[in-house]
C-alpha cells in the first residue's frame, strides 16, 4: 500500500465511532490527569492499561495517544487558573498565564493556550507523518554529546529568563542540580550526600520539588494573607474565549517562533518538552522588544511556550516509533503498553504494522483538533473550582499533592520531601529567590550529568568533543549566543547612542 492509501485507511480507522470515542475519552482523561497536581500522564496511561486488554489494538493506541496529547496540555489549565503548573513544562505558561489571569484576561488566556497547543500539535503531527521513516537514520547519528548540548541549552534559557539577577539564578540552578545528585549515583553506584539514611538514598524526584515549591507555597501564601477570613467571596465564573483570527494575527511572530523551536528541538533527543518549553520562552524573551515585561503577563511568552510544547510532541513520538527509544517517562509507558499489545516500536514497525502506525499518525493529528472542544470543556470544569471557597480548595490541593507525591514511587520518603519543599517554596518566595532555575536544575541536572559523564568516558576525558562534533558544537554556540545576546545588544545600543552618526 502506498503512503496515501495508508493515510486514508488510517483516517477511516480513526473515524469509526468506537475508535473516535476512545480517542476523545483519552483526551479528556489526559487533560484531567495533566491538570490535577500529583496525577501524571503516566498514572493515567497505567490506569487505562487493563481496559485496553479488552479492546482491540487500534482503539487502545488511540486512547493512549489521546491521553498523551491531552496530558501535555492539561497542566496549563491549573497553571493559568491557580498558579500551579501540572508539569515542569507548564512553568513558563504559568508565569504569564497566571499574571494574565490576575489582570482579568483569564478567558482569553485559557482560549489562547488551547488554540496554540492545538496548532503546535497539528503541525508537529503532520511533520511526523511525513518525516518519520527517514528520521531514524539521522537520529542515530546523535550521541550523548548532542544530548548534553540540548540539556545545556535548556539550562542557559532558564538563567536568561530570570531577569532580576543572573547570579541569583545561577545559585538557584546549581543548588537544584546539587539536589539532583542526592542518592545512589547511577554510574558508579556510590552513595552521595545520603548520610546513611534510607530516605535520602532513593533520591529526590523532580515532580515532588515542582509540586511542593509551586502548589503548597501558593496555598500557604493565599490562605495566610492577613485579614483573610477564609469564607471566601465567590469569584467570577470565567469563560473560555477562543481567540479570533485578528488576535492570532497579532501574535503570529511568537506563534511561528514557538513552532520553530518546538519542532526543531522535538527532533533532538534529550529532555523533550520541558527543555523545549523553557528554550522557546527564553528565545521569545530575547527576541522581544520589551523583555523587561516578561513575567508580568505578556501574550508572547504564553503563546510561544504553549505552541512549542505541543510542537515537540511529534518529535518525541518519532523517536518512539522509528527507533523504539522513548524520549520521556510518558512515552516510555506508552512503549510498554505497545509491547504488551504485541506491537514492537522500532525499526521494523513501519514494515510490520503500517496500518497501525498510520492510524496513530492520523489519530495524533485529529487528537490535536479534538483537543480544542475537549480543552474548552475541561477548562470550564476547572474554572468552576475557582468558585469553591479557598479554605476547602486549599485543603484539597494539599491532600492531592501528598497523594500524588506518594503515588509517584509509592514511597513515604516522598511525603517528607513534599512537605519540606512546600515550606522551602514558601520561603523562597518571601526572600525573592527564583524558583524555576531550582526546579529545572533538579530535572536537568541528573540528565546533564549522565550525558556529560558518558561522553567523557567514551572520549577519554577529552572535553573538546562537545565542540568538535558539529551538531553539539552548534547547539552550544547558540546557547552561549542566547546568553550573551542582551549584553551585546545593550552594548551596541550604548555605542549608537554615544556616536549618533
Amino acid at each position: 500500500m502506498g503512503g496515501w492509501e495508508l493515510f486514508f485507511t488510517g483516517l477511516g480507522n480513526v473515524l469509526e465511532p468506537f475508535n473516535f470515542t476512545m480517542m476523545a475519552t483519552g483526551l479528556v482523561i489526559g487533560v484531567l490527569a495533566g491538570a490535577l497536581p500529583g496525577i501524571t500522564m503516566m498514572n493515567a496511561i497505567v490506569l487505562v492499561l487493563p481496559f485496553t486488554y479488552i479492546m482491540g489494538i487500534v482503539p487502545s493506541l488511540l486512547l493512549m495517544s489521546g491521553i498523551y496529547c491531552g496530558g501535555v496540555f492539561g497542566g496549563s489549565i491549573t497553571g493559568i487558573l491557580f498558579n500551579i503548573p501540572g508539569d515542569p513544562m507548564n512553568v513558563p505558561t504559568t508565569w504569564e498565564g497566571y499574571k494574565l489571569n490576575k489582570k482579568g484576561f483569564v478567558s482569553k488566556a485559557l482560549g489562547m493556550a488551547i488554540m496554540c497547543s492545538a496548532i503546535g500539535g497539528v503541525v508537529s503531527g503532520v511533520l511526523m507523518t511525513l518525516l518519520s521513516p527517514p528520521f531514524a537514520k539521522i537520529a542515530l547519528s546523535f550521541s550523548s554529546a548532542e544530548y548534553f548540548a540540548v540539556v545545556f541549552m535548556g539550562m542557559v534559557s532558564v538563567v536568561v529568563i530570570e531577569s532580576k539577577s543572573v547570579s541569583t539564578a545561577f545559585i538557584s540552578l546549581f543548588f537544584g542540580m546539587l539536589l539532583g545528585t542526592i542518592g545512589i549515583d547511577e554510574i558508579y553506584g556510590a552513595p552521595r550526600f545520603t548520610f546513611g539514611s534510607r530516605l535520602l538514598e532513593t533520591g529526590i524526584n523532580f515532580t515532588i520539588v515542582l509540586i511542593g515549591l509551586f502548589a503548597i507555597g501558593e496555598v500557604l501564601e493565599q490562605l495566610c494573607e492577613k485579614g483573610k477570613t477564609g469564607e471566601g467571596v465567590a469569584r467570577l465564573r470565567p469563560k473560555v474565549h477562543v481567540p479570533s483570527l485578528r488576535e492570532f494575527w497579532e501574535i503570529k511572530g511568537s506563534l511561528l517562533r514557538g513552532l520553530g523551536v518546538g519542532v526543531g528541538m522535538g527532533a533532538l533527543p534529550g529532555a523533550g518538552a520541558t527543555v523545549t518549553s523553557f528554550v522557546s520562552y527564553g528565545v521569545e524573551r530575547q527576541c522581544s522588544k520589551q523583555p523587561q515585561l516578561f513575567g508580568t503577563g505578556v501574550w508572547e511568552g504564553l503563546v510561544a511556550s504553549e505552541t512549542a510544547i505541543n510542537g515537540s510532541t511529534g518529535g518525541a513520538m518519532m523517536h518512539l516509533f522509528a527507533l523504539g527509544i522513548p524520549g520521556s517517562g510518558a512515552t516510555a509507558v506508552m512503549m510498554g503498553a505497545f509491547l504488551l499489545h504485541g506491537i514492537q516500536p522500532g525499526p521494523l514497525l513501519f514494515t510490520n504494522s503500517p496500518v497501525e502506525v498510520y492510524t496513530i499518525f492520523v489519530g495524533f493529528i485529529l487528537c490535536n483538533l479534538v483537543m480544542i472542544p475537549a480543552g474548552v470543556v475541561c477548562s470550564k470544569f476547572f474554572s468552576e473550582l475557582m468558585r469553591v471557597p479557598e479554605s476547602i480548595l486549599g485543603a484539597f490541593i494539599i491532600v492531592f499533592c501528598l497523594l500524588g507525591a506518594y503515588g509517584l514511587r509509592n514511597d513515604s520518603a516522598d511525603l517528607w520531601y513534599m512537605a519540606l519543599f512546600g515550606i522551602v517554596g514558601y520561603f523562597m518566595r518571601r526572600f525573592d529567590l527564583p524558583v524555576p532555575p531550582l526546579v529545572l536544575g533538579v530535572i536537568l541536572g541528573p540528565l546533564a550529568e549522565r550525558f556529560f559523564m558518558t561522553t567523557m568516558i567514551g572520549a577519554d576525558n577529552d572535553i573538546s568533543v562537545f565542540f568538535t562534533r558539529p551538531v553539539s558544537g552548534a547547539v552550544i554556540i547558540i546557547s552561549l549566543a542566547l546568553f550573551f545576546w542582551p549584553i551585546v545588544k545593550g552594548h551596541l545600543k550604548q555605542r549608537r547612542a554615544e556616536n549618533p552618526a
Partner: protein, 179 residues
C-alpha cells in the same frame, strides 16, 4: 514576618550580604565534604564526586559574584517596591506549616483514611471555614472519593498505617468495598 520587615528597614545591608555569604560558605563546606566522603574515584575517570563538586564550586563562584555585586552597590538607595510583600498572618502560617509536616508521620502511623479526614477537618478549620456540617461532609466524602480514585482505580496502595491502625484501615476498605 513583621519583625523581619522591621529588620529589613534597619539593616538592609546585612540582609543583602547575608544570603551570598551563606551560599558562599555552603558551597565551600559542601565541596570539602564531597571531596572527603564521595568516592572512590577510579583511576583515569572523573568519578562520582566530580559532578556534585562542580555544582558546589559553581554555587560558590555565583555567590562570590553576587557578593561583589552587592558590595559594589553599597550606599546606593535600594530600589523602591522591590520587596512589595503581602502582610501575613504568622500564627496561622506557623500552624499550617506544622500541620503539613505532622500529617506525614500521621499518614505512616494512622494510615491514609484516618489522617486524611482529620487533616481536612483541621486544615479547613484553620483556614477559617466555620460551617461544621459542611466540613464534616467534605472531610469524609472527600476522603472516600480520593480512596476510590487512588486505591481502587489507579491501584496505588496508600499507606495503611501501623499497629492496629492497619487492621482498622483494612476494615474501612472492606466497608467501602475498596478491597
Amino acid at each position: 514576618m513583621n519583625i523581619q520587615a522591621n529588620q529589613n528597614q534597619k539593616l538592609p545591608w546585612a540582609k543583602a550580604v547575608g544570603g551570598p555569604v551563606f551560599f558562599l560558605s555552603f558551597g565551600l563546606i559542601g565541596y570539602l565534604y564531597a571531596q572527603l566522603n564521595i568516592g572512590p574515584t577510579p583511576p583515569g575517570q572523573l568519578g562520582p564526586a566530580f559532578w556534585p563538586k562542580m555544582c558546589l564550586l559553581s554555587i560558590t563562584l555565583a555567590a562570590a559574584f553576587k557578593l561583589f555585586e552587592v558590595l559594589k552597590q553599597r550606599g546606593q538607595p535600594a530600589k523602591a517596591g522591590a520587596n512589595a510583600l503581602k502582610a501575613m498572618d504568622n500564627r496561622k502560617l506557623a500552624l499550617m506549616i506544622a500541620m503539613i509536616v505532622l500529617v506525614v508521620p500521621a499518614i505512616g502511623f494512622l494510615g491514609f483514611p484516618i489522617s486524611s479526614v482529620s487533616f481536612f477537618w483541621l486544615f479547613m478549620r484553620l483556614a477559617g471555614e466555620k460551617k461544621r456540617l459542611r466540613m464534616l461532609l467534605i472531610s469524609v466524602l472527600g476522603t472516600i472519593a480520593l480512596l476510590y480514585l487512588f486505591v481502587k482505580v489507579v491501584y496505588i496502595p496508600l499507606p495503611r498505617g501501623d499497629w492496629i491502625f492497619d487492621d482498622i484501615t483494612l476494615f474501612i476498605y472492606r466497608v467501602l468495598f475498596i478491597q
